[in-house]
Symmetry: C2
């Protein structure tokens, strides 16, 4: 059975991307590479959109989160980490590893941290150097209101550093309009590439902070990337196959239009939410993201079994609950190049599987609700 | 024209690897991933060979070099860096970034550092914590004698850390027999994969050093990898496509036999050397590696032009000289899954191009010498 991915990364890989990656390897020191790299870097800015500097790194999402920290901060600095989930907590782990003091503004998993709480901490402590947060918290499906958080930070010296790893393409992360100094994403998320390529943008303020940042760094040192990018190269071997794939993915985004990409994610995530509400289930997140929907399950339904049955009977791969949510939550993602028909397919499969597992509801109501929302 | 790679990474990608990577993405949190990952980790040990712990990281070669340093050393430690080329010098740059003091045992590019010089420094300074060196120096085509260096280090407390990034598959890097504590390689080298996946082995001594190492680290912190590897996972998203490709590459190595893989590299590198000697050219390296041959060019031949003509007329991509060797040296690699016919092709193309550029030699002697060496 063909497997169909509904997980918040890795996301389905479009054929055009697959084909681009199967083409001849472009030699990273050869004559054709600089044009490819500089074109990709410029066009990737349209995803946020941003006019900030943009860098491509060979790492997973955690790697580029570390790059954001070590390039802008110093041991002993105090920062706010605003988090209510697994990936927000990763900011704290990274800061702890580098001797950066964390003022934690946290909440229950599934909630989003209000901007006023961040504003309060910033006013109380003028020494705060940065606010680190997550746009779409992949473990809970919750979205943080980055425009509001940006306004809260705007009156202060602190930098705003946003993990947009699983939100870019699903939501705008307009760095200038929102006041974001460092924005991140990863290849296996909205861009529909395999994992291994990460993206970081730096505002002028963040670039200035990087001049004075004292965290030790080599591989993630952005000054090495900047120096080589000016010649159309990376400081070490860039993942050239993923960069060829990114060229194809950016062409797909360009053809559809980034605004329509955001609209599509909003429409599809809305359809999943309507579907689950229509059969008496709840979203786990207070402020759901358009990248994925975490579904709270009734006690009678084990999420691990639900995932297994969807995979075995339909080839549909959805995400499970992380940490203490294992079995209690499933996560259905529409991130990346997902079609409306894919959404109909997963909602139908979910209905049939829940019915088979003994959950009682009006059969057909989920697919009807999804259909209506998809329009 | 089909492009054919003769560069020391990225190397040609075998069809079986290409096919494996084009298959369905394996979900890194799904039920099938642990078996894939643990199998690949075990089989990758046969490349060195080693029985040490082995970790797969999502990074380029420079990233895994940093991982070797930050997991085993502390700021203020003193180390020996034995280097005579661009990639050896990278060890110094990484150590400098982390406040590790480097005793440089260096030589002219193209030479290899004698083990006795390292032994002398170790005896003179009992505080040395590690010796860092490069098995095959990709910028010069020179090989360091790791068994001899291992013997020199064996009488001391210092760890031996070896960049085998472009030597694994071309030469054994037998960690137990040679006394190597940390060995490294990268996906786009001997394994014929795209770049983005790196490999690190750790001896028990290195693992013990990691317990006390004070360099700050998160992304490259090996304790995170060890904890998740025991469950068949990575600590963050591993490059699953490259891991599927690695499965196919390891199967190819298994089918051929690792000893025959080493023999093939020796035979092919030997054929390239015989070919260039037969037409009055010289190897740049005193002790040439079996991964690549750096060819010293006469003043009448510009290496950049030679590369361009080989690419334009034959689709043959060779490496140029790095840094001050630009134009003076070209690098012809047989690393990865290169066939004897590929070697005949590049030698023939080199002959024709050199003749076209006005270099005078007995036509046909290079291909005859290569043929004889290939047997």
């Amino acid at each position: 059975m063909k497997s169909r991915l509904f997980i918040p990364g890795p996301t389905p890989i479009p054929q055009a991307v697959q084909d681009a990656m199967a083409g001849p390897i472009v030699y990273h020191r050869g004559p054709d590479f600089p044009e490819l790299l500089t074109g990709v870097v410029e066009d990737a800015k349209k995803l946020f959109p941003t006019q900030d500097e943009l860098f491509l790194l060979s790492s997973s999402g955690s790697g580029v989160m570390e790059a954001a920290v070590v390039n802008t901060l110093s041991p002993g600095d105090r920062v706010i980490v605003a988090q209510a989930g697994n990936f927000g907590a990763r900011w704290t782990d990274i800061c702890n590893a580098y001797g950066i003091e964390v003022v934690s503004v946290d909440g229950e998993w599934g909630t989003s941290i209000g901007a006023e709480r961040i504003a309060g901490e910033l006013t109380a402590d003028a020494s705060i150097k940065a606010v680190l947060t997550t746009q779409s918290e992949t473990s809970t499906g919750a979205m943080h209101d980055i425009p509001a958080i940006g306004q809260a930070v705007a009156d202060h010296e602190a930098l705003l550093i946003v993990d947009g790893i699983s939100s870019v393409c699903a939501h705008p992360l307009d760095t200038a309009a929102y006041g974001v100094d460092v924005a991140l994403t990863g290849s296996q998320k909205g861009l529909g590439l395999p994992p291994g390529l990460a993206v970081m943008t730096l505002s002028q303020r963040a670039a200035a902070a990087a001049e004075n940042a004292k965290c030790p760094r080599f591989y993630f040192d952005i000054s090495r990337y900047r120096a080589s990018l000016s010649e159309g190269r990376g400081p070490s071997t860039l993942p050239v196959t993923l960069i060829s794939g990114l060229r194809a993915a950016l062409d797909l985004v360009e053809n559809e239009g980034i605004a329509e990409v955001w609209n599509r994610h909003a429409r599809q995530a809305g359809a999943v939410r309507e579907a689950i509400w229509s059969i008496g289930l709840e979203c786990f997140a207070d402020s759901p993201s358009n990248a994925l929907t975490a579904v709270s399950l009734p006690e009678s339904i084990d999420g691990v079994e639900l995932m297994q049955r969807l995979s075995q009977s339909y080839g549909a791969v959805i995400g499970g609950g992380l940490a203490h949510l294992r079995g209690r939550v499933v996560r259905i993602s529409n991130l990346g190049f997902v079609t409306d028909d894919d959404i109909r397919f997963i909602v139908q499969a979910l209905e049939e599987t829940l019915a088979w597992m003994g959950y009682r509801f009006d059969r057909g109501s989920a697919i009807a609700a999804a259909d209506k929302a998809l329009g």
